[in-house]
């Protein structure tokens, strides 16, 4: 059963459609990538799954687990945010409140979802270790950690809250190449070992080819192509997809080899 299911999603601002996705499913242990250039509507689609698109009309049907996102009450939506599906953002340090220790943020987030005291401390430590960080990091402020550490901490937040879905918005594009590899390794391991579902937004096709099981290509708010990663990268049907792939010279061969 898919943990995220999107049908006939249309996001409009005024009379302009900024994202339109007829069908999108993400199952446990699966990573689906939304690719396309900036402005293609991929981040909007990602945010819509948590009801986080502001100042726009959203129509269609989105389910996260058994919750109908567009029909849910605001309180119910806040309950599933973090605990069912957690967001990992592009710029890891900007995504963390600069005046708050990481541990404080973790503690508040856990308390928000009903985990307090010793249980919360245990969960926090366990989650931080699972992303290969020293629990000591919980005592630091965002500016005292590296980008890669901050990003892994964001993933740890998702783990601690028990989220089965990770929504990652360009999780590596603000990081150095070596650090990117670390973060990707963590994401892959969690998908394989814990069966997390992942919806990954990226314009980095090299990254996508190393982790995605299925790929959805978007352009100007519309889906132009979707399919398994091997199909999309190996035998792209849409000219736009071919263009995207051509922009990453080493990619087509390496994708086919695998």
């Amino acid at each position: 059963m898919s943990l995220i299911s999107v049908r006939d999603l249309v996001v409009r601002i005024g009379d302009r459609v900024i994202a339109s996705v007829p069908e999108l499913d993400v199952a446990a242990g699966e990573c689906v990538a939304l690719v396309g250039e900036s402005g293609s509507g991929k981040t909007t689609t990602l945010l819509a799954t948590l009801g986080l698109v502001r100042g726009a009309d959203v129509s269609g049907k989105i389910t996260v687990g058994d919750v109908d996102v567009l029909a849910a009450s605001p309180a119910r939506l806040r309950e599933i945010r973090g605990s069912r599906a957690a967001l990992v953002m592009q710029s890891p340090q900007a995504a963390l409140n600069p005046t708050m220790r990481l541990g404080t943020l973790m503690r508040r987030a856990l308390a928000r979802h009903g985990v307090k005291g010793a249980a919360a401390r245990e969960r926090a430590r366990e989650a931080v270790r699972a992303v290969l960080l020293d629990p000591e990091i919980l005592r630091r402020y965002p500016h005292q950690v590296s980008g890669g550490q901050a990003q892994r901490f964001a993933i740890a937040l998702a783990l601690a809250l028990g989220a089965q879905v990770v929504l990652a918005d360009e999780p590596t594009s603000a990081l150095d190449v070596t650090v990117q590899a670390e973060v990707v390794a963590v994401l892959r391991r969690l998908r394989d070992e814990r069966g997390l579902a992942m919806l990954l937004v990226s314009h980095d096709l090299a990254l996508v080819s190393t982790i995605a099981d299925r790929v959805v290509v978007m352009r100007d708010g519309a889906v132009v192509e979707s399919g398994s990663a091997a199909d999309v990268f190996g035998r792209p049907r849409d000219p736009y997809t071919r263009e995207l792939i051509a922009a990453v010279p080493a990619l087509p061969e390496s994708a086919e080899e695998r």
Binding site: I13, R16, S38, S40, T43, A56, E170, V201
Partner: protein, 285 residues
């Protein structure tokens, strides 16, 4: 990050008007009415001669009535007429202060911002010193050593006000000066004063204009305070702060003598503030 783009905005005149901050419009309308009242004071004031030194001892301290909407003051002058004429004094002071300090501040600021280096450092340190004095304090000290008059008020406030514009302009001009078109003008051998006048200055003005309209209220309040302390306008000049001072001992018995000039100050400062806030909200969007 692919944030949702703003919708394309159709530029029909009606929509453009709707896009302007409603606050800015409200402030502009209110201010326009006050300016109009000031300009037309000799014609719309019920007793124009009361704007000056006329006295009517027999009609002193009459409460508001059909003949005197705002009542009369301690020498029998119509308070409404004096409030209307007072708008002229206050607006004159505001315009003069903003013009003098605005021009001085913008010129120094543009030079500091364009030249950079030690020129900028010197100008900025001098503004630091002036900014250490709250405007009213420095004006107070200056107004004490100069003779009390409307001109003194203008000079005293302008001296304390220019550094704000110098700072603001310097920071804007510094960023404008790094833009491409300034570089290319420099490469073409355009002399520095011409570059500053033609390119840097016009592109640095917008934030200063917004600040000027925000500051109108502050100038009105400071001027009224100086006159209230007896350091500014004096009899028989109709000035709101002075009217409050002259009537303050009568507040309990003859409230109208103090209430209406005070409300006039409040309303005018408010109009400037609303306009300025509206413009700022519009600009920062």
């Amino acid at each position: 990050m692919t944030a949702p783009a703003l919708p394309a905005f159709r530029r029909t005149p009606l929509r453009r008007l709707a896009g302007v901050d409603r606050l800015a419009v409200a402030g502009a309308v209110l201010l326009a009415l006050i300016v109009l009242a000031a300009l037309l004071a000799p014609w719309i004031a019920p007793y124009p001669e009361d704007g000056g030194s006329a006295t009517h001892p027999l009609e002193a301290l009459l409460p508001p009535s059909g003949a005197h909407w705002f009542g009369t003051d301690q020498v029998g002058r119509d308070v409404l007429s004096r409030v209307l004429f007072g708008a002229r004094t206050s607006l004159l002071i505001a315009v003069a202060v903003l013009a003098v300090s605005g021009v001085a501040g913008v010129l120094l600021g543009v030079v500091a911002g364009y030249a950079g280096g030690w020129v900028r450092d010197v100008i900025m340190r001098v503004t630091d010193i002036f900014l250490a004095f709250p405007a009213l304090l420095l004006s107070l000290a200056l107004a004490v050593v100069l003779q009390p008059s409307v001109t003194t008020v203008i000079v005293a406030i302008a001296v304390t006000w220019w550094p704000w514009y110098a700072r603001l302009t310097a920071s804007v001009a510094a960023s404008v000066s790094t833009r491409g078109f300034v570089d290319s003008a420099r490469c073409l051998g355009v002399p520095a004063p011409l570059i500053v006048l033609r390119h840097v200055l016009p592109n640095s003005l917008t934030p200063v204009l917004v600040q000027l309209s925000l500051d109108g209220g502050g100038v009105i309040l400071t001027a009224a305070a100086l006159s209230y302390l007896g350091l500014g306008a004096h009899e028989p000049t109709p000035e709101w702060g002075l009217m409050v001072q002259q009537g303050q001992s009568l507040f309990t018995t003859d409230w109208w003598v103090v209430t209406f000039p005070g409300l006039a100050i409040l309303l005018t400062a408010f109009a400037f503030n609303v306009l300025g806030e509206g413009l700022r909200a519009r600009l920062s969007r």
